[in-house]
Symmetry: C5
Subunit: 367 residues, 5 copies
């Protein structure tokens, strides 16, 4: 039943449990099994080795190539894209002496973000949040292992937001090349947090267009469904960033020897950024609630308007139609029918009734 445990917080509810396979019931705890709702992707490896003087980008053929190239005095950043090849991952983790539960956590792509100090290494699970072209928000788990000699990162699928870090490694601007592995890990976390802000920006744009539509009373029938979709995105992001904040806080307050001196101000800055993301998410949630109220009020106002038109037309013409009906009766003895001025008089009566009604509505400020 191990598998069914791995639930993914939903954008809407739909895609949650789609790919949950229930065939591995009874799996032993601590046995690494790939868990997730994506088609597992074959692992592609990359290694970046650098120190202040030099940097080399390697795309190796095999794991052994990487392991052979590990070198002290250099920072080694091993990045794994795709978690399908469990054997490879287990060998890699075994080389770095990671514990079984760490490997299990790496393979469970639905894990809650967390930070854990294992003495010889520091283990972090965080989430990369990016916007997909089809207007959905993608959550990808990134596991980061910080050792004294380098950093291991594990991603679910190819494609990440680490480009700026690679550029800075390549060009050598800033402190990055001069500092050690924990600063590299910080730089990766910082770039992930930066991406949160662009997703925030995009959600803000969506809210903005919804707000305009609600205020302009031009919202269609899908409005509420879409707005609830944005609210679900905000909720899910909040639930994801909240434990990320905790993980960064744990890193900040950790006494681990693996973290370089002087990293504290940077981690505090990172921590403040995640707090600001959460703050903005709160602002957006309030804004979404506010938009919903404006929309509902607009719907109600429009209903009122419709009712008023109906009422005005009805209450003006129903009495007139009655009058016309009266003189359409076929009684033989209706003295009015023979009076020559009766017809214009009836018109007069009808116009008076109509004007009286209009005056009444004017007084009631109905239009």
């Amino acid at each position: 039943m191990k598998d069914s445990r791995r639930t993914r917080p939903p954008r809407t509810i739909e895609p949650i449990f789609k790919s949950v396979a229930s065939g591995t019931a009874g799996s032993v705890p601590g046995t690494p099994i790939y868990i997730g709702d994506r088609t597992p992707v074959e692992a592609t490896l990359s290694l970046i080795q650098y120190n202040a003087e030099q940097v080399s980008f390697i795309t190796p053929e095999s794991l052994e190539e990487i392991l052979a190239m590990q070198e002290e005095g250099m920072v080694n950043w091993v990045n794994v894209n795709g978690l399908a090849d469990q054997d490879l991952i287990k060998r890699l983790c075994g080389y770095f002496r990671l514990e079984a539960l760490t490997i299990e956590d790496i393979l469970n792509t639905e894990h809650r973000p967390k930070a854990e100090d294992f003495g010889q290494y520091f283990f972090l699970i965080t989430k990369m949040i990016t916007r997909r072209p089809d207007c959905t928000v993608e959550y990808e788990q990134v596991s980061i292992v910080i050792t004294r000699f380098g950093v291991l990162t594990f991603q679910e699928v190819p494609g990440d937001c680490f480009g700026p870090v690679r550029d800075r490694l390549r060009t050598g601007v800033g402190r990055l090349r001069r500092l050690g592995s924990s600063y590299l890990a910080y730089a990766l976390l910082d770039v992930i947090a930066d991406n949160y802000f662009s997703v925030l920006e995009w959600l803000g744009d969506q809210l903005e267009s919804k707000e305009t539509a609600a205020a302009a009373q031009s919202a269609g029938n899908r409005f509420m469904v879409d707005l609830q979709g944005v609210k679900a995105d905000l909720n899910r992001m909040r639930r994801t960033v909240w434990p990320v904040r905790e993980a960064v806080g744990a890193l900040l307050h950790s006494q681990s020897e693996i973290l370089e001196d002087g990293l504290d101000p940077f981690l505090r800055d990172l921590y403040e950024n995640t707090v600001q993301v959460l703050d903005s998410l709160e602002v957006y949630r309030e804004a979404a609630a506010s938009i919903q109220e404006v929309y509902l009020s607009a719907v109600s106002n429009r209903m009122n308007e419709v009712m008023k038109v109906l009422t005005i037309i009805s209450t003006i013409f129903i009495p007139l139609t009655f009058i016309a009906g009266v003189y359409g009766m076929n009684f033989r003895h209706m003295p009015e029918l023979d009076l020559p001025w009766a017809y214009p008089a009836t018109w007069g009566l009808m116009v008076s009734v109509a004007l009286g009604m209009v005056a009444y509505f004017k007084k009631k400020k109905w239009f």
Copy 2:
């Protein structure tokens, strides 16, 4: 009055107090009495004895058979299904020197989940949550007593989710056979928590179908009742898992000597799982609230549409009917009636009025 105390948190409100018998008023605290809303089931016993080398599955005839087979150096897992035979349970508990209040708690199947360290043994109450074929969620209390030499488990009715654990004991894969009684208890708790995820999955499926119905505006009159049913399920599950989380946390932070070294990472993993269940429940609760808002908005929109149709038809035809009524009057002196072009002119007037109305509604964007 002891009996009336045992309330069961309801799926809906209905089945709560059904079977509460009030005949045992004045019972002495600490006197074990079976309490619950099921027909008590006669106890069936089973014993599994194992160590790294061997394992034996025994379904004994009588309690004494079990007690005679207890053996040091082996882990003894005694499982009791059904709590009706109090005498048997008291003798079993007496053999293992459980305290009177522990026995009372075992027999009270409405007890809150908790963990308590009694020195010689560790006592846990947890809840098994499973989905019944008739689409309701079943809560069954499982009491677990961990001693140095084995584990006692007490269930309300036959049928449980411990199959995978029994399989692992039989086949000997993983650590289970090599480790002691506290690891067995962990394995049982882990399997129970795994089951939470399948119930979650099922609740998620229900929410999903509700969401589709709400968005497609195809929700029937029962929709709200059903949705509130799912919300009640989510609430009840949250109220059940919350103290389970506390109990696991107490186990995790316990200093009890009964717990093996090296169990901590597994318990932490278990703890994280219950936290994730609670997290997902929160997500689902928010989703349920969101679905409700979509539904209510759809209801309101449909009302609006109905009103609009009524208003459009009424306001177009009511003035026309009035005009027709006017020329249906029987006044002798109505000059229009004799004009040869009056009838087509009237038609013209009526078409103009109708077109004017339609133009007005177009301008107001009513259709």
Copy 3:
């Protein structure tokens, strides 16, 4: 103004301040004055004296009789029903050396539940909650003073729920007769907490009937008023049990020497029971909110249905009536009127219009 202070949390708002007399303004703090909204009842006294060997039930003529019978080596339970005779209560409390503020608290029947350790005695205020035959919930304050030699209990009116305790004293089953005064106090608190469960049960029954009515759309105009009444009952009970829980917690964590050794497990059990009452109250509050939503949704659905019927009938017949009106006009030159097939053709037209409308509504799924 001392009097006006004593407010009683209301079932509905009505009965709160009814009997507040404002005639004692300026009373000195610490001066015992009976405060409450009941007609004060003359005190009736009773004494139960027991140890493991013997028990005697005494209904004395006067206070002095009780005081004379106090005996060491026996547990003395003095129960006072009715607080009107302040002089008697002051003498009684004086004999047991209770402090002035304790006496004031005993006489103030609107006091918040609390527990206070005075060294020589332990003072508890709790509330007995019972259901009155007229379907209201009655709150009666019970003050309990635990001394080394016995227990004093003070109730507002005759009639209590202590029958089971008296029975156990009489028959001598269980530990009660063998243990001291603090165990007696526990037994009384336990019986009071048991009563909470029967009130809970009754509130659950009420909610159940409301739920059925709401789901069956058979709720009348009083529905909402009644539901709010149940919610007010739940709220009031929660506000009452919450400090009771705190008081029991204070008793549990107290280091007072007056409490016997070995009482802890029982108090913990009692504490867990009050927690469970609060849990169930939360479940009921959520259920009440849920019922309200179902009811409001049902009201809204019914409105929708009414509107639909009106709209369908109106939009079918209004155009037909217009057509009939047209051919009821009295123009001399209406060529259609003279055509022999005009009348059946008009019927044909009208039937077509009606069928078209029906088809439109079918397509819109209005029925």
Copy 4:
């Protein structure tokens, strides 16, 4: 800008910023300036001097008279009504060596309730809440300075609720005359808290009448505005009493030597009273929310009833009118018109249609 800072929490929003003068911008912090929204009242002074044996009530001509009469061995209660004469207040405070910020706080009548220990004196800001004859609630700040030799009280306007304390000083009943200045301060705070209960009582009465109106469906258009007014009163009172509770708590836990021994039980009693006020306010807030729900439900029910009447009348008569319209057509060839039994048959048809409709509505339980 010092002035604009002094905002007053509003009953409704209206009277908040009315009298805010913005002319003192740039005033130096710590410079005492009268701030408040009342026309400042000239200070009137009074002195009550007492010990266990004697008491004298003095209304002095000038401040100097008071200062001259200060006497050790007596408790001196100087009361100042009206804060307009800053010079007088500064001289008075100077005589008692109060710090500049204390004086500033005394003059700022919009200050939050608080308690502060200044070593030589203890400074308390609290609020007197009274009901004005015009059905509004009045908040008046009372600053209390407790020194070893007496108590200073500062009020905004003449008229207070200290009458009972003065009476007890005059008559000498109770402990008041026998104890020192901190007990006097307690007595004043106690009387202020007592007044909270009478305001509570009055708000409860208002809620009660609202509840009756809502349940009886006799609420007018002002209902909601009035109910929100009561809610605003409850909110404001809660926001005022909350810091008062904190201030009393600070007094209770203070180690200040100025506070007499033995004051603790009284302060604890006072603290419990403020807690009870807050509890009752919560109950009232819930009651107000409940009344609002009943009211809104009643409005909705009434709407439903109106719609039903309209629908029943319309759907019965619209088809009938159509039938009548058909036979009012003037086609030359309408065979029915010449049949002798056609007219009664038409009546029969119309009655059948009407009865069918009524039966339909009966079946739908519309009346």
Copy 5:
């Protein structure tokens, strides 16, 4: 991507991400870059140098002029308006040995308010909130660096609320000239907090006018949009002042040697002021919610009224029209038509029906 991180909490959602440039992706953490959504303004500098005896106001040509004039024994207040000239700011900060992250924070005008002790200096970020003439609220970041010899302040744009402080420096009233740099910083913070009160006042005015409109049922279609705008302003202000309060609290509890002795009471006063701002914001938020409820209730009432008018008119005239229709039928055999009293009798019937309806509505209290 550094840039996209800097989100600005929105008044409404619109202006948030407008000017976010995404061109600086991959910038190195700790690299100062101007971030904000205003067109950066060239820096203008000013220096105020004072001690108890003298004060000089200097508007220097260049930064070097300022640096040259720094003098010990004087308090130096350097104010920078406009953050576009990063080079200048870096040189200034370098002179005062501010750390790189401090400089980055100064340049990031979207930073959360905070207080940080760097040993040699104390760094504060706060927000100036002012009302713009176009009825929006402007948030401007003010960074304050407190050193032993002076204060540095950085603002985004020219124009501030520090006029009163400059006046007090010029005229020398109060303590300001006599005390050191930390008191100057306090004075600046105090003036900023004072400004919060004037914005509060303005928001209160807006709420007041909304409340009047809602109660008078004269609210237009924009009402809800505007009210949500005020609510968004209140929310944003709360989110801004909340961390300001924390920052002031950190300053208050700081042990930094840079803060003068005797500053504590002033900081506590400042802290209490920010608490009061937050309190008032809560009151306003509750008031806004209350206004919204009044408005929605008024809308609903008006709808009810419209429906009632429609229903009354319809239900009176529809039956009458039916009667008239009946006697407008052209059956040859309608005996009533020939009766001489039939016409007046029909009128009688119609009047009776109308009066009956009116009586029914009177009884139902519909008007």
